[in-house]
């Protein structure tokens, strides 16, 4: 790695368009050969395909490469998209916006702007300092972690594009509405004093002019960083999911995570808060639960809660938000997620 970085530029940089064509072709071929390969592999193993173990193995051997392949593709594309949206630029776009439309814009930008929960506080301060209204800042801060490329890629891989799209739309809706409500509550005085006392800055719209080669490099860097970090969680998640698929009887989950169980949604939200596995670990498990009779709304609520309301992030945010504002944030977002769960279970189910 250290030698490579100083070596003459590699071929993705020298022939960016050629690299994209080759990468997309290889990716497509690999994706097309998933089913035949995994079935051949299971057939070749000394287990009966129709047994519990056969079921579990088939699930594991098919889903693992599929999820990793889709994840790599989506993360690469998002890495390129991210290179068009720096936080500085997003901040300039949001500064001084009116509530309402500003919340919608903030949530949308939250999806495409690169975000890491470790920078949540500097980002928060940076936004407020530049005159982005508090509620609009929250819309951004809720959407950014909740609607992320890992969650979307996994949902797409395991549930199909409809559920992925639905998750995207509902995640944005929760971010827009929750941010708008927080803005209405006029809670600016519940920022910690040090945060309010920083001098105001005028947002500068710096033009990010990168070449295609540099954008590809940033896509590849995202793949290395994100896929490199989450793959063990995915493997663990799929292994547990495979176990559930193979061994838990069908409809087992229906009795306590089914649609008729009204208290399942709030319980799912509450259980989600202290859980800090990322989307990567939780989604494969959730997929298996769904197959055993759990209701989609309950499962989506659980996922959103795990991802959007994580305890470590709340601890970080506490440095800049007073307790009252944190509690409001959690309350408003939790209610939004509950709404999503119930809408799914009762209206759409």
């Amino acid at each position: 790695m250290s030698d490579l970085a100083l070596a003459p530029r590699r071929w993705p940089q020298r022939w960016p368009v050629g690299f994209l064509v080759v990468a997309v072709t290889l990716w497509w071929l690999a994706y097309q050969s998933l089913v035949p390969l995994s079935e051949a592999l299971v057939g070749w193993l000394p287990v009966v395909r129709e047994s519990h173990l056969g079921d579990a193995l088939a699930f594991f051997l098919y889903d693992t490469p599929k999820v990793l392949l889709l994840l790599t593709g989506v993360v690469f594309v998002m890495g390129i998209v991210n290179s068009y949206f720096t936080p500085e630029r997003t901040r300039a776009l949001l500064a001084g916006r009116a509530e309402g439309a500003g919340n919608v814009l903030a949530a949308g930008l939250g999806v495409v702007t690169p975000f890491c929960s470790c920078s949540a506080v500097p980002l928060f301060i940076g936004f407020v300092q530049a005159g982005v209204p508090l509620g609009i800042t929250f819309s951004f801060l809720i959407a950014a972690p909740m609607v992320n490329e890992v969650a979307l890629a996994l949902l797409f891989a395991l549930f199909g594009w409809r559920v992925a799209l639905l998750y995207l739309a509902l995640g944005l809706a929760v971010a827009v509405v929750a941010g708008w409500v927080i803005g209405r509550l006029k809670m600016e005085r519940y920022l910690e004093d040090w945060g309010r006392q920083l001098r105001a800055v005028s947002p500068q719209r710096q033009a990010a002019s990168l070449t295609l080669a540099e954008r590809i490099e940033s896509g590849l860097a995202s793949v290395r960083e994100i896929v490199g970090r989450v793959w063990p969680y995915i493997l663990a998640g799929i292994a547990i999911g495979a176990g559930i698929h193979g061994y838990v009887p069908a409809d087992f989950m229906a009795s306590f995570m089914g649609r008729e169980v009204w208290w399942a949604v709030p319980l799912a939200v509450v259980l989600g808060v202290p859980m800090y596995t990322n989307a990567a670990g939780v989604i494969p498990v959730v997929e298996a639960l769904l197959a055993k009779g759990a209701a989609l709304g309950t499962v989506l609520a659980f996922m959103m809660s795990v991802i959007a309301l994580s305890l470590p992030e709340l601890v970080i945010l506490r440095k800049v938000l007073k307790l009252r504002l944190i509690a409001t944030f959690v309350g408003v977002v939790a209610v939004g997620i509950l709404g999503v769960g119930y809408v799914f279970n009762f209206a759409l189910g």
Binding site: S2, A5, L6, T86, P87, E88, R91, P114, C116, C118, S119, V121, P122, L123, I125, G126, W194, G195, L198, V201, A221, E225, I316, K319, V320
Partner: protein, 79 residues
């Protein structure tokens, strides 16, 4: 002598960045004074919105993600 500050709350990327800057400086024989800024208040006050951020001689040269070695060499070279 260059004053280099790395701003970050101690995440893995920040530690890697510090190590890389030390390595590149040593390779190139550049004399640097490296300081880690870990308090979230100071990071925010410096105007860095993504960590790790790097400030060289008072100028923000980098924010977010691990920098490349070429970029580090560039910062250390520029007068």
């Amino acid at each position: 002598m260059k004053e280099v500050q790395v701003l970050g709350t101690g995440c893995a990327n920040c530690r890697t960045t510090v190590r890389m800057i030390e390595e590149v400086a040593q390779e190139r024989g550049v004399d640097i004074e490296l300081q880690k800024v870990e308090r979230i208040e100071d990071i925010a006050a410096a105007g860095v919105m993504r960590t790790p951020g790097v400030i060289v001689d008072g100028r923000i040269v980098h924010a977010g993600g691990i920098p490349t070695r070429e970029a580090i060499a560039q910062w250390l070279k520029a007068a």
